[in-house]
Amino acid sequence: MSHNTLSQFISKIEGHGKLKYNIAESCVSVNIDEGERLFERLVIGRSYTELAFITARICGVCPTAHAIAATRAIEDAFGVDLNDKINSLRYAIEAGQIIQSHALHLFFLALPDYIKVQNGLELHEKDPGLFKIASELKSAGDEVIKVIGGRAIHPLTPTVGGFTKVPTKKEIEKLIIKIRSAQRLAIETLEIFAGLKYPHLNKKEEYFSLTKNGFVDILGDKLMSTEGVESDVKSYQYVIKEIVKKNCTAKHALHDGHGFIVGATARVNLMSEDDFNPKTQKALKMLKIKLPITNSFKNNLAQAIEILHFCEEIEKQLTSFIWSKDERTKVGYKIKAGVGVGATEAPRGTLFHMYEFDEKGIVINCDIITPTVQNLTSLEDDANEYLKQNKSVSIPRRQKELEMLIRAYDPCITCSVH
């Protein structure tokens, strides 16, 4: 039996990929159809002051993550120490990015497969109540980024040493009320995704996340894996290696020669029960959700868990922003020649930016590794494993579920080719 490449792009994922598979031989690959934009070259010769603006444009779904990773890399190179107030606000906007992206993915891209609607519009017609939850949750994520970052897509305020502008106390208090009411919606969302019937897949993977002092932290400084890897972010290139595949514009990352997983499932799997915020802990218990997650279809469930966890986290961080004693929202710095590495947990996983600067702060070298590049190898391995484990399922159903698996990974092909 020959390989079958579907002529249509896989629908409802970020970016362009086509599914190529041979069901008899349990062999699947995703062909990437995205042109090279060459951001790593675009920034060369430019000032550090343009990096957050430029690299945010790598991805319209997680621009905040890129702006923050770039900013943290510059701060690492220049040796800038932030205060708690700035860190709280940065944490809140990054968590807002995760909620915004997860809500978009869960309701408008992933859920339609499970409740047999075609798109968001049909969701609105058939289940207006559900649509309302989706819409309000997405808008809560949008609002966090808009209030802190200046607008919902391609935020403006994150800058080296802090923020160019911060919201007033009143605006923050209003945001806290909004995010608190979103927590109810997040619980309902978690109930929905805990109640879905996911296709069968069981595969042991190695999961990676950023951590700080041993705990998962979206602004962490260490890399940790479920197989015991612990490394400073600065040495990321020794832990994660990118390879170039023939005819593929996206690179693939490997650890020790094998695939691994980053993103919601990885973060959730690296957390213990007590690490979740109180309402999330309670919901996990009530809904009898078992961790760790070893079925990649359930990345959807992991994202739903995170939406609630981060809604609670944003309330905490914004409160500490208001009450922080050090009033400075931007700290001073001196431009220095050298190399800086900055990472953050983007919605889809760990995002690395590395820059080398000359003494004027002009970029002379750059490397960016996106989450989807790190997930691509596992995505294909998982798809092959799915076919092996589900031979009794009808062929059209297997084809459909393969697409659902790819969607569950929430790949951002746009980011993967940058």
Binding site: E36, R37, N119
Partner: protein, 258 residues
């Protein structure tokens, strides 16, 4: 009345502009009787091959499939509208010099890599474009204004004042005066100046305004900035625009004279 058949195609880009449709969601749903989106890969499971009344093109054509999609879309559509700076201007990825693309690819992908793609261009390089909605990303209210114009059959044209006017209306402090450089004076407005309002100078994402005077901007900016920095910022969104090409030629001539 027949519903307006809309298609949204994305070429190579960040997909931020099409998300503005999702940001409009309730407002769009209210107009549900006026239109239907019959092709949108990002949001629809089943997609029609046309014909379409109105087609939005987001992204810049780079991959082979981008160019095929674009040509097919032109054939099947009455009106083609570019959505955002990548489609409109080639995007910031088009700021890299085309003659250095091979070297840039070598630096990023290594010696064994073969590409099937072409240097990024504005959509209008390949097909005729009927309307442009500028911005990186497009402004939500401008998108709404465009859609209403389409549904009631009114003519739509992007604003033709500079970002400076938007800044004055918003009461923002002038970053050209404060920091010595900003692209506001030469950039098309309509964005409501969110960047200067948040302390970031204008990068020109709406593209140059008619009769933009780049040499004058340069001489005003030069007092506090290096020419390289000015050129770098200008190149981000203007690199494929005639006014920028003319400016670069005049720069070269100026150098030769001195």
């Amino acid at each position: 009345m027949n519903k307006v058949k809309i298609a949204i195609f994305d070429l190579t880009d960040c997909e931020g502009c099409e998300l503005q449709f999702i940001a409009l969601r309730e407002k769009l749903l209210k107009r549900g009787n006026d239109f239907e989106i019959t092709n949108w890969r990002l949001a629809n499971e089943i997609n029609s091959n046309g014909p379409f009344d109105v087609t939005f093109i987001e992204g810049s054509p780079i991959a082979e499939t981008d160019i095929e999609t674009l040509k097919q879309a032109r054939k099947m559509s009455k009106i083609i509208i570019t959505l955002g700076a990548c489609a409109d201007l080639g995007g910031m990825q088009s700021a890299l010099l085309e003659k250095k693309r091979e070297r840039d690819l070598l630096e990023v992908y290594g010696p064994k890599y073969k590409t099937n793609s072409l240097p990024p261009k504005p959509v209008s390089y390949y097909v005729d474009v009927d309307l442009h909605l500028p911005g990186c990303p497009v402004n939500e209210e401008e998108l709404e204004r465009l859609l209403s114009s389409l549904f009631i059959g009114k003519k739509f044209s992007p604003k033709n004042h500079s970002v400076c006017l938007d800044c004055k209306v918003a009461g923002n402090p002038c970053l050209f005066l404060d920091e010595g450089f900003c692209l506001g004076p030469v950039t098309r407005g309509g964005c409501k100046a969110p960047c200067p309002a948040n302390g970031i100078r204008c990068f020109g994402c709406f593209g140059p305004i008619e009769a933009a005077n780049l040499p004058a901007l340069k001489s005003a900016g030069e007092k506090h900035n290096s020419v390289e920095n000015i050129d770098n910022t200008l190149s981000l969104f203007f690199s494929k625009q005639d006014v920028y090409k003319e400016y670069k030629i005049s720069q070269k001539k100026g150098k030769n004279v001195s």
